[in-house]
């Protein structure tokens, strides 16, 4: 007797691939959050809002350039920069003065940013949802194991390892990465040896926001761009960062893969309660490894 009659091998494989391509976007956004959390110690709830702003900006830029085939690619280049600029203003204008404060204060401060951003997005783009077509090259799907697999998801799948490698190189092999890792451990000591810590903090924050913007740009063609997408993503990426280990980029990757896979398979097993499974996975992980799977910088 088969337990799940609809669950054939090829369906399962495709679903796993779809889950992994979703995990790519989660990983890119979560890695930005984990960098900010690890180095600056800001539990940045506004990260989800930046992701949403990234998606909306992508929509606007892509539709502005819709005559040429390159609309989406221009947007993918520019929208994260816009988000990074917003991040720079946030950090240099406000967060800079609050580093001495309690974490709870920071959390609430970033939450007030989510409130402000939610209404600003409503002000600029209205409360209707938008949708963006997948770029021309990636329209249609490939046949894998007799099942259709969207080309755009394949593109996302390839992008994931690329970003992981890039972030690994940045944090382990470049000067900025090394300084920021040192600043995460002991800010005052790094300042004492003559590094401009303020600048490093700003750079890491901007980089984190840039990653949120990229995540928003990449997700734009795959789902409706709507108000409220900030709320759903921020909890997911926070959980990913927590189960991966705070401040650990590889942890974010691992967490994103766990989250994406349990989500994708959960929908197959129990359609109505599919979204329960990632949360169950998180609870299981945290019950056995309270500090996350990989070593946390904290």
């Amino acid at each position: 007797m088969e337990l799940f009659p609809s669950l054939s091998f090829s369906v399962l494989c495709i679903q796993i691939l779809v889950g992994l391509s979703k995990a790519t976007i989660l990983f890119i956004v979560a890695s930005g959050l984990t960098l900010i959390l690890g180095v600056l110690r800001i539990p940045n709830l506004a990260h989800g809002s930046l992701y949403m702003i990234g998606a909306f900006t992508t929509y606007s830029i892509a539709t502005a350039f819709s005559q040429s085939n390159l609309g989406f690619w221009v947007a993918l280049l520019l929208a994260p920069l816009v988000v990074a600029l917003i991040g720079l203003i946030m950090e240099q204008g406000l967060f800079r003065f609050l580093y001495k404060r309690d974490h709870l204060m920071m959390l609430l401060f970033t939450f007030s940013f989510t409130l402000v951003f939610a209404d600003l997005v409503k002000l600029v783009w209205g409360s209707d949802y938008r949708s963006l077509a997948v770029p021309k090259i990636f329209q249609g799907s490939y046949l894998l194991l007799g099942m259709p697999f969207p080309r755009y998801n394949l593109f996302l799948l390839l992008l994931g390892p690329l970003f992981a490698a890039g972030l690994w190189y940045l944090t382990n092999r470049t000067l900025l990465g090394k300084i920021s890792r040192a600043a995460a451990v002991d800010r005052e000591m790094v300042g004492a040896v003559g590094v401009n810590v303020n600048l490093v903090y700003a750079a890491v924050f901007v980089l984190g926001c840039y990653l949120a913007g990229i995540g928003g740009a990449l997700v734009a063609p795959t789902q409706n761009i709507s108000q409220g997408m900030d709320h759903s993503i921020i909890i997911e990426i926070f959980l990913i960062v927590i189960i991966g280990g705070l401040g650990n980029v590889w942890g974010a990757l691992l967490g994103a893969v766990i989250f994406g896979l349990t989500d994708a398979i959960g929908i197959l097993v129990a359609p109505q309660f599919g979204i329960v499974f990632p949360y169950l996975a998180v609870i299981t992980v945290l019950t056995f490894r309270p500090k996350g799977l990989l070593k946390s910088i904290w």
């Binding site: 007030s112 209404d119 909890i235 109505q272 979204i275 329960v276």
Partner: protein, 331 residues
């Protein structure tokens, strides 16, 4: 001891305030009676959060879960069973406290930020279940039109019921804070290592604090059902939890009445500013930012400090136990 809630100077003012609350339904229009009831319910919820947040120093990020559990328990008992009404009202806090115990057992050994995040994931799990389980909880529609017994249905009777229960709960919470247990809780907030060294069981005390806070949140939940006659999954959503955190911060989380004041401020802002502008959360967010920058101890904490510099040796509210420097050490 009960008078210890207030300094001697503010006592006449408070008595006047209470008398005003009792006689309010005779003079105020119905809308205002409803509004004050809503303030009391939300204020009770925020005060119960402050029990673990301000006094216990725990990062209770998802307190609304217990509120929602209380509300859903009352609603389900009233609609799906034929048990007497009082059972529904008594069981709501008990079920909420049970959930508090379970979540506490899972979370309490974690340090602050991890504690809060695990709580959010557990709470989100519960939210998803409520949101999707159409047969039992009504799913995202919630349950509407829950009929109350005649004694507490209608705006004014409901108001008196809510006022009485809220006052009782505030009194009980104050007794908890002043009890040896409450003192230990504050000591745990200020220096957990030292408490552990002198033989306090840190984890057990934290779990107990969470259970007590969940109990009162459950009461607030069932009062919400009395007031609105409906429940919906938003009661368990994490944005509500952050909103009550904001209420605690705005009012002042090292004072007993701060959260209540914060709830009143935010609800009145929501009600009255909502008439003029569509962009309410923008205003709320900006107001929060200003509070964090300029009034980190909250409105009541600020007033308290002011009062102390004007009249040295006295304070407006004797229960406030603000440590001079809020701990920045987290893990």
């Amino acid at each position: 001891m009960i008078f210890g809630i207030f300094g001697k100077k503010s006592l006449p003012l408070v008595v006047l305030f209470l008398v005003g609350l009792i006689f309010m339904p005779y003079v105020a229009p119905r809308f205002y009676i409803y509004l004050v009831s809503a303030m009391l319910v939300t204020g009770l919820l925020a005060t119960s959060l402050n029990l673990v947040l301000g006094y216990g120093g725990m990062y209770q990020f998802h307190h609304a879960v217990f509120y929602g559990v209380g509300a859903y328990t009352t609603a389900l008992m009233l609609t799906k069973t034929s048990l007497p009404t009082w059972v529904a009202f008594v069981s709501a806090p008990l079920v909420a406290a049970f959930f508090g115990l379970v979540i506490g057992l899972i979370c309490a050994r974690l340090s602050s930020l991890h504690f809060g995040m695990l709580q959010i994931s557990l709470g989100s799990l519960l939210w998803v279940i409520v949101y999707r389980w159409y047969d039992f909880t009504g799913g995202d529609d919630g349950i509407h039109g829950i009929s109350m017994p005649a004694v507490i249905s209608g705006t004014t009777p409901a108001y008196y019921f809510i006022l009485a229960i809220t006052a009782l709960c505030l009194l009980l919470m104050f007794i908890v804070i002043k009890s040896p247990f409450g003192r230990i809780l504050q000591a745990l907030r200020d220096n957990p290592e030292r408490c552990a060294a002198i033989g306090v069981n840190v984890i057990r005390h934290r779990i107990l604090a969470l259970v007590v806070a969940a109990l009162f949140a459950g009461v607030a939940g069932s009062l919400f059902v009395t007031l609105e006659g409906s429940v919906f999954p938003d009661l368990l959503f994490w944005t509500l939890s952050l909103e009550i955190l904001i209420m605690c911060l705005l009012g002042g989380w090292f004072t007993f009445f701060g959260p209540m004041l914060g709830a009143c401020l935010i609800i009145s802002l929501r009600t009255f500013a909502g008439n003029y502008t569509e962009y309410l959360t923008l205003i709320l967010g900006l107001m929060m930012m200003l509070t964090i920058f300029f009034l980190p101890k909250g409105v009541l904490g600020f007033v308290n400090d002011l009062f102390r510099t004007r009249f040295p040796g006295q304070s407006l509210e004797e229960s406030s136990h603000a440590p001079d420097k809020i701990s920045t050490k987290i893990i």
